[in-house]
Symmetry: C2
Subunit: 326 residues, 2 copies
């Protein structure tokens, strides 16, 4: 069987697995914390060690295994054609030749791809957006990112920076975003800002179960905790969750009007809120976007969870090899 | 020489010309007012008559002329694969088999394409966005529309409705748009809304040269008149023009962050404002969008003026023939 090693380099965790070249299965799925303070060489060394373990596992599980190469997903901005991580503030990296270093150490051809692009492409390949031809993926985490698939292909833009959906302005008079502008969707609906809105309501004196749930420590109020409190009926948390769905609905409606996608796939921990997120979000999109576009579009949670990055990195290798990028 | 007939069916005017298949020249360029009240058959009859005159001209000018086919650009929503104008409120049309009717009457293979897509694709082919691979076009007129070119190809979306940039929300608390939502960019920066903002400032008692320029008739305050007054130093008109550039800058910054295009091309009468529009617009984009994306992107006025639709319709025929749509 043919295999591709998929490496998902995240700010918090690294995940490595071997993906069957037809997307049918994954072997390995090792996860370790990323320890950026140890420095770039140590982090890359760890990825290489995890990949070697994975390769050994594949060879044990499938004695006829052929390992075609490896794909690595990393936070941007990247230079995909040159295989370089241009800048990754979370890791403190600048102009790291990640593709070449992985390729040399593992003696395999390698590809580099943006992490959000990997996750979205994985959902198109074997996940919730399978068979989608025009797919918009929105990754909701500490920040908000995304990926664009048109005619089944990732759209990278002119300098590998396409898909920065988090900094779409939905209210130019809105709250200040980490990027310095006002009213980006990220300033409302990233994990940090979901928690911020709940904390602001509590600081304004509204009673909430979140106070007890966080042991009265505002630092412990996270987006996850807000959704947990909302599920148990807390009014403040429900308000925050409803507002989040509405803000995201405005952003998704913009994307639906812009792209007329067949699928919008939402990724990130917040999708575990399920209907509490998706029902009001879809309502907002239906109320706002053009009918021919909403009629053509399904809005779904991602299906691959923590493996999206590994699947997507492997797929990036296959796609970049097929299109001659590597 | 090989030629394609280009038909640009607009709400106000129809333009028909013959375009050399290499885009090097156009013959004809006939424009007549669209008279929708006469009914669909009369409007289509007029297009056919104009096309026949154009074909005769081509044959006179180039005795060896080979006419490959015709392309028609029309306002959407369309069904491009079936060649149908699904709905055109301005013309009062529903489910008109425009492609088949033109093709039969003129005995030529035919293609149908969205009018904004035609204009943007024309600019990519022979205009201001020439050689662009990832191009976003914004058409500013009575309404605001657009087109998306990725890897040199128009992106139509799942149901031929992609590119509705006019209904991107930039302030969800903003003024009500014709679509019923609040704060779409169209509610600020379409021709109608540029004039509206000037009239509101005048109605609030601000002195403006626009009063005399419009013979004190608010109906005669148009976006064009506002830019004329701004050019002659009128403070109210300058404020409106500055605000317009800022609003458009917010929308363009969103599109630059989303697509990371190599070119944003702005089309419509308002581009005649020149630097008065483009200088503050580019400033706003640079201040707002991500640097790797603004660095990669030029923001330019369209170069083809009234012929963009004809060139683009002809190109749509060539592209749809090459890709097997027709």
């Amino acid at each position: 069987m043919k295999w591709v090693i998929g490496i998902d380099l995240g700010g918090t965790n690294c995940v490595v697995g071997a993906v069957a070249a037809d997307g049918s299965r994954v072997i390995g799925d090792h996860s370790r914390p990323t320890l950026p303070r140890r420095g770039e060489a140590a982090v890359i060394g760890e990825l290489i060690a995890m990949a070697k373990i994975t390769i050994d596992e594949v060879k044990r599980a499938d004695p006829g295994a052929e390992i075609l190469g490896l794909g690595a997903g990393a936070p941007g901005p990247l230079d995909i054609h040159r295989g370089i991580v241009v800048l990754t503030p979370n890791l403190g990296w600048t102009n790291v030749l990640l593709r070449a270093r992985l390729s040399e150490a593992l003696q395999l051809p390698a590809a580099l791809e943006n992490d959000a692009n990997c996750a979205v492409q994985a959902e198109c390949w074997v996940g919730a957006a399978r068979n989608g031809q025009c797919v918009i993926g929105l990754t909701l985490g500490t920040g908000i990112g995304g990926g664009i698939v048109i005619d089944g292909k990732l759209s990278h833009g002119a300098s590998d920076a396409a898909g920065e959906f988090g900094h779409m302005v939905i209210d130019f008079n809105g709250p200040i975003c980490g990027c310095g502008n006002r009213g980006c969707i990220e300033a409302y609906a990233s994990g940090v800002n979901i928690a911020r809105r709940a904390k602001e309501m509590m600081a304004a004196g509204q009673q909430s179960a979140l106070t007890a749930m966080s042991d009265n420590d505002p630092e412990r109020v996270t987006a996850m905790l807000v959704y947990e409190a909302a599920a148990s009926g807390d009014a403040v948390a429900q308000q925050v969750a409803d507002d989040t769905a509405r803000y995201l609905g405005i952003a998704v409606a913009n994307l639906v009007n812009i792209f007329n996608p067949d699928t919008v796939v939402i990724l990130g921990g917040v999708i575990h809120a399920g209907d509490a997120l998706f029902v009001p979000l879809r309502c907002e999109v239906t109320a706002r976007a053009f009918k021919p576009s909403t009629d053509a579009c399904r809005i779904v949670p991602g299906a691959l969870e923590g493996l999206a990055g590994v699947y997507g990195a492997a797929k990036a290798f296959l796609d970049q090899r097929a299109s001659g990028v590597i």
